[in-house]
Amino acid sequence: GRFGQYGGSFIPEILFNSQQDLLSAYREAMADPEFKAEMLAQMQQYSGRPTPLTPCPNLSQQLGGAQIYLKREDLNHSGAHKMNNVIGQGLLAKRMGKKRVIAETGAGQHGVASALVSARLGLECTVYMGAHDIERQYPNVFWMKQLGATVVPVTTGAATLKDALDEAMRDWSSSFNDTHYLIGTSCGCAPYPEMVAGFQSIIGEEVLSQAPEVLGRQPDKIYACVGGGSNACGIFLPYKGTTTELVGVEAGGIGDGVGEHAMRFNTDQARFGIAQGYATEFLQDEQGQLLPTQSISAGLDYVGVSPILADMVKRNELRMTAARDEAVLDAFKRLATTEGIIAALESSHAVAAAIAEAPKLSRDEKLVVNLSGRGDKDLFNIASALKDAPFNDFLADYLAREKQA
C-alpha cells in the first residue's frame, strides 16, 4: 500500500478490520481467473469495452505537428472511464458477501456509475453528496434516483465533495459488516489507490495492444487529466518503464492564487501531507488545513491526488502540467468542431495540453490523449461558461410549461 513516501493507511481504528478484509479480498480476487473473467465479461458485455483508439486527422493537420489519437473512454456505458472501476469494485463487493455499497460523489459522475453498477449487480446503493453539489448537479441526482439509489445530502462543512467523502467514511465506520465503500478514484487508504488503478489499467492495456495497428507503433507521449487520478493511472501504469512519455494535466483553474486552481504539483501551495486516509501531495495551508480548490470541471476539483501518481512524479516517471479553464474551453470547442467529439471538461484538460504541445513536435511523433469522458453531462456548465442566452430562454420556457401543467 506504499508508493515511495506516499499512500499507506491512515484511517480510524474502527475501520482497520474492514480495510484488512478488503485488502485480502482484493488480492484473492485478482489471483482468481474466474473473477477476472467475470470482470472482463461485464466490462465487455455491459460497458462496451474495448473502447476504440480514434485518429484525429483534422485536428493534427490543423496543429501542424504531432499526430493525435484519442483513447475513447467516453464510449463506456455511463460515458466515462468511471465504469471500469465500479464494475471491479461492485463484483468484489458481491464476492465479499456485501449487500450494500456506499459512495461519495462531487459532480455526480461516480455516484451515477455506482448507482448503475449497483442496479446491475443487485446491490443496495447509498450515495453521499454535498447538499451544495446536489443543488448544482441535480441532473445526476435525478438519474441516481431513477436507478434506485438513495442520495444523502451532506450539509456539514462546505457541503461539497470533501464533506461527502468524510460522511461516507463515517457511514462505513458503522456499516462495514454488510457494506462496501466504493471509492471512485485512485486515492484513500490502501488498497484503494492500487485497486482502482488496477481496475482502470484495462485502459492502458488496450492502448498497448491497439497502438501497433492504429498508430503503427507505440505512442511517443500519453496525456491524461489528473483529478484524483484514476483515468491517468489507468492509461499510464501499463506504460511504466516504456519509452513513452507520460504527461498528467491538472486543473489550472482561473489563476495561480490560493483557491483558484486544483494543482497539486508545480505550486508551493501543495506539499506532502496525510489526510483522508493516505499520504500524498495535498493543497494545504501552513497549518496543514486542506485548501479550497477550483476548476471549470468538477471532476478535477480535488485537493489530493493519487499516491501512485505523486510517487511517479517524484521518480520522474511522469511529467505534470496544467491547463487553465480558458484553454480547456478552447480545446473543447476545437475538438468538437474539427473531429466531431464532445469531450468532458475534465478530458478537455488533456486535450488542451496536447493541443499546446503538438505544434512543437514533428509530424512523425504520435500522441495518445485519454478522452476519459463525454461532455453531454457538462451542458449546464458549458452553456454557462459560453453565456449562451437561448439556453436560459429554453429553461425559462420549460419551467413555465411545468408550472402550468
Binding site: 499507506g8 493507511s9 491512515f10 484511517i11 480510524p12 481504528e13 474502527i14 482497520f16 478490520n17 450539509t155 456539514t156 462543512g157 462546505a158 470533501k162 464533506d163 467523502l165 468524510d166 467514511m169 463515517r170 465506520s173 458503522s174 462495514f176 501531507g273 496525510i274 489526510a275 483522508q276 486516509g277 495535498f282 494545504q284 501552513e286 497549518q287 496543514g288 488545513q289 486542506l290
Partner: protein, 257 residues
C-alpha cells in the same frame, strides 16, 4: 510511567471514575473556546481534551465536524493554541490537558516542534487517524512526557491489541462501538469488553463515544477509569450557551463522585 498515567492513578484512588471533557479550540471563537476551557477547568474536569480543528475530521460526527469548520474560519494556529493552553493550564494544576487533532496538522507543525512547544501543559495526544503501525511518528513526544493515547475497539484482534497495549502509556481511548462521535451506544455490551481489556493492561481505560447522561457514567464505574464526554457538552453549549454546558457538566460530574 507518564505524568498523565500517574495523575489518573492518583485521582482514581479517591474516585470511582474520572471525567474527561472535550472542547474545540476556536469554536465558536478562540476567545469563547478559551472561556469554555477555563470554565470546565474551574468546575473541576479531571482531564480536558482540547481538539485542534482540522479541515477533514473523518472520525468525528456531524456536531463536532460542523464546529471544527466554524472554528477554522477563525484561522486558529497550533502555535497559538498551545500557548493559550499553556497559559491556562498553569492556572489549573489540579487538572490535566490532552490535545486531540488529526495527523496532518501535527505533521505539518512537526512532532519535534510539538514536543518542544506542547510540554508541559499538554500531557497526552490523541490522533484518531494515526494507526499503531505508524507509532514512530509520535516517538519524539516521549522525551517531553506527552503520552500518545491509542485507541482500541472491541473487534481488535489479539495481536493488534497486544501491539497497542505495549505501546500504550498515559491512558487508552476505548471506542465503545462502531461509528463516529456523537451517536447512541448500548452500554451493556461495552462493559464485558472493558473487563477483558482491564485484565491485560495496567494502563487506565478511558471510554468514549456516546456518553451523554449520568447513568452512562454510572454504568461504566468498575469497568473503566475515565468517562470521556464530547458531543454531549458541545450540544449543550449549542443549545443554550455556557450556562447550559455547566449544568450538563455538573450533572455528569455528580456521577463521578
Amino acid at each position: 510511567m507518564s505524568t498523565l498515567q500517574t495523575y489518573i492513578k492518583t485521582q482514581r484512588e479517591s474516585r470511582p471514575i474520572l471525567l474527561m471533557t472535550h472542547v474545540i479550540y476556536g469554536y465558536p471563537t478562540i476567545k469563547d473556546s478559551l472561556e469554555i476551557m477555563e470554565t470546565l477547568l474551574r468546575e473541576g474536569t479531571d482531564i480536558l481534551e482540547v481538539q485542534f480543528p482540522f479541515s477533514d475530521p473523518v472520525a468525528d460526527g456531524p456536531t463536532i465536524t460542523n464546529a471544527c469548520h466554524v472554528a477554522l474560519e477563525n484561522a486558529p494556529t497550533l502555535r497559538q493554541c498551545l500557548a493559550d493552553i499553556n497559559a491556562l493550564a498553569t492556572r489549573y494544576p489540579d487538572s490535566k490537558v490532552v490535545l486531540m487533532s488529526y495527523l496532518n496538522p501535527m505533521l505539518q507543525f512537526g512532532f519535534e516542534a510539538l514536543a518542544d512547544t506542547a510540554a508541559p501543559a499538554i500531557s497526552g495526544l490523541i490522533i484518531p487517524d494515526l494507526p499503531i503501525e505508524q507509532a514512530s511518528f509520535v516517538e519524539p513526544l516521549k522525551a517531553a512526557d506527552i503520552a500518545p493515547i491509542w485507541l482500541t475497539i472491541p473487534q481488535m484482534d489479539s495481536a493488534r491489541l497486544a501491539q497497542t497495549l505495549s505501546a500504550a502509556s498515559g491512558m487508552l481511548y476505548c471506542v465503545s462501538r462502531s461509528g463516529v462521535t456523537g451517536g447512541a451506544t448500548a452500554f451493556d455490551a461495552v462493559t464485558d469488553n472493558l473487563d477483558t481489556l482491564k485484565q491485560q493492561t495496567s494502563v487506565p481505560l478511558g471510554v468514549g463515544f456516546g456518553i451523554s447522561k449520568p447513568e452512562h457514567i454510572t454504568a461504566l464505574i468498575g469497568h473503566a477509569d475515565i468517562a470521556i464526554v464530547g458531543s454531549a457538552l458541545l450540544n449543550a453549549y449549542n443549545e443554550a450557551g455556557l450556562t447550559q454546558l455547566v449544568t450538563r457538566f455538573k450533572s455528569l460530574q455528580t456521577a463521578t463522585r
